[in-house]
Symmetry: C2
Subunit: 294 residues, 2 copies
DNA sequence: AAGCTGATGTGCGCCGACGCACAGGATGAG
DNA sequence: CTCATCCTGTGCGTCGGCGCACATCAGCTT
């Protein structure tokens, strides 16, 4: 069945009983209504109405159409009210994606947000690949560094993540603790696997130490942290994580040049909705209480 | 919500994920699809899709529309198959209207028809006023005489109803039995109330007897018959009814000029349907067994 | 009886929606 | 790296559907 508008026209005719009444309700000329009915009946190969000078009387088929289209109109009306109200309510799904490694910072934010807005179903995605906002894969993305600025993405700074150089207590007891980067000779380091990492501290490390000193590499930040804590070498760990780890020894304190700025990215279409706005304010409020970040 | 076609377009886009695919399915140009989506979103004031170079990804609103329109399409498909099949099935309502006075002839026809097609709900209407077929008030009408031939009505002859002059046995014992219309003088007659009755036997009676001889008048045939049987006078009674009444005496046997032809009338739109055709053949088959008619 | 009202139905002219063609961009294969 | 493919997006010309006006007809009122 093609051409739903003709069904809608026939629906109004069946409901009101006259072509003129339907035309007035539909906001079209009554000639248009007649044309729609004629076309619809011709394609169906069946009469929907008995025509007479006082109006159109629905046949059994017409009554059947009336009943079906009645529910359809109600469904559409509900749909429209839902859609129109959807931008104003804080409900439905909220998909947040972030870089790996700050999930323990974000999870309490997510849960408290869900406490505040019980109608929201939160999905928190962290993956190696970058989720694309313009594909509708997420409402809010938390990204690191100064990535490519895509059009239609509204981006705002969140916090600057402090990072320092740490080693395990066992490592220091075995290899000593360098007082500065001048004493790095003879030490072993833990770093990222990928050569092209754009994190400023990794680039700094590659510039300061010889490649063969990097004796342990991993791709995930969590794996790197675990490696450091198990004594594989000296490595960069986010300051907020190191603060909770008494088995770690600070080799070099966080420097400003090592800080990685976190960006809050949303798609422009979703940015305006109340749900996204509610989450953004909630997230920024919570970020004020984050220690060792700014 | 106006313009259901745009919802249908958006539905196909949400279902297929691309404008081009939806355009192909809908049989329109993809530019038309884009225009529909743009117009719909503009009127809704909300985005239904995330646009990107590889297609359109439905937002939550788009998914909502998808679900609603999915059921709508199924409902419409069912509706169309019902309507297209309706002319081919013998089911639903069958409204038959007839002149009063032959209901005891028709009722067994109706009941046996319902036995044959259990899915049919039969409504049998007899009323003084003439039901109008072009208003959809009945599928089949059984009418008497040569009434006005309305356009769009297909009419075919059914039977010729024989009528004779009868009186009650009590009347004959009291007033005697005239051998022919030459001996009508001094007799009293029962006739119709209305002056303008077009029944041929009533016109014959008005021409043969003096007005004051018509001592009893009624409008309904059943009332006239009751009056004759109670001895109110000599009156016309359908031959098939008089045959079952042993208390009636035949004054004059049925004549051809008194016969009233019964017409079978249907609206041209309904005439073609299997249901009406089934009833017409069933009725004509049954009419062959009617005695004292032809 | 006669006019009035409100309905259907139809020919005509015009505007808006449609198809067309092309540009631009993203993605995957070789 | 380049080509090929498939997608979206847009300006332009055209055609189909729409509104308009009028004819016609059935009830209803006066």
């Amino acid at each position: 069945m093609e051409n739903w508008d003709e069904i809608r026209t026939a629906f109004q005719v069946a409901r009101l009983g006259t072509v003129s009444g339907a035309a007035e309700v539909l906001g079209v000329h009554h000639a248009t209504v007649i044309r729609h009915i004629d076309a619809l009946e011709k394609r169906l190969g069946a009469k929907l109405f008995q025509r007479h000078a006082r109006g159109y009387t629905p046949t059994e088929s017409g009554h059947d159409l009336l009943a079906v289209a009645q529910t359809t109109e109600e469904q559409f009306a509900h749909l429209v009210s839902r859609i129109k109200g959807q931008g104003e309510t804080v409900s439905g799904e909220l998909v947040v994606t972030s870089i790996a490694g700050i999930s323990d910072l974000l999870t309490p934010v997510m849960t408290s947000f869900q406490d505040k807005w019980p109608d929201v179903r939160v999905r928190f995605l962290t993956d190696m690949r970058v989720f694309r906002l313009d594909y509708g894969e997420a409402h809010v993305a938390i990204r690191a560094g100064a990535g490519p600025e895509e059009p239609d993405n509204v981006v705002q700074p969140l916090v600057r993540l402090k990072t320092g150089l740490y080693a395990s207590r066992a490592y220091v007891e075995r290899f000593g603790k360098p007082a500065s980067e001048a004493e790095f000779d003879g030490h072993r380091f833990v770093s990222t696997d990928s050569e092209a990492s754009r994190a400023p501290f990794f680039r700094w490390l590659r510039a300061v130490v010889r490649p063969e000193q990097i004796s342990y590499a991993a791709s995930e930040p969590a794996a790197l942290e675990q490696a450091v804590r198990h004594g594989a070498g000296i490595g960069f760990i986010a300051a907020f994580r190191a603060a909770d780890a008494p088995d770690l020894v600070e080799i070099l304190p966080p420097r400003e040049e090592w800080e990685t700025p976190l960006r809050l990215v949303t798609h422009v279409d979703l940015h305006r909705t109340r749900k996204v706005q509610a989450f953004l304010t909630h997230l920024k409020d919570s970020a004020k209480d984050w220690k060792l970040c700014r």
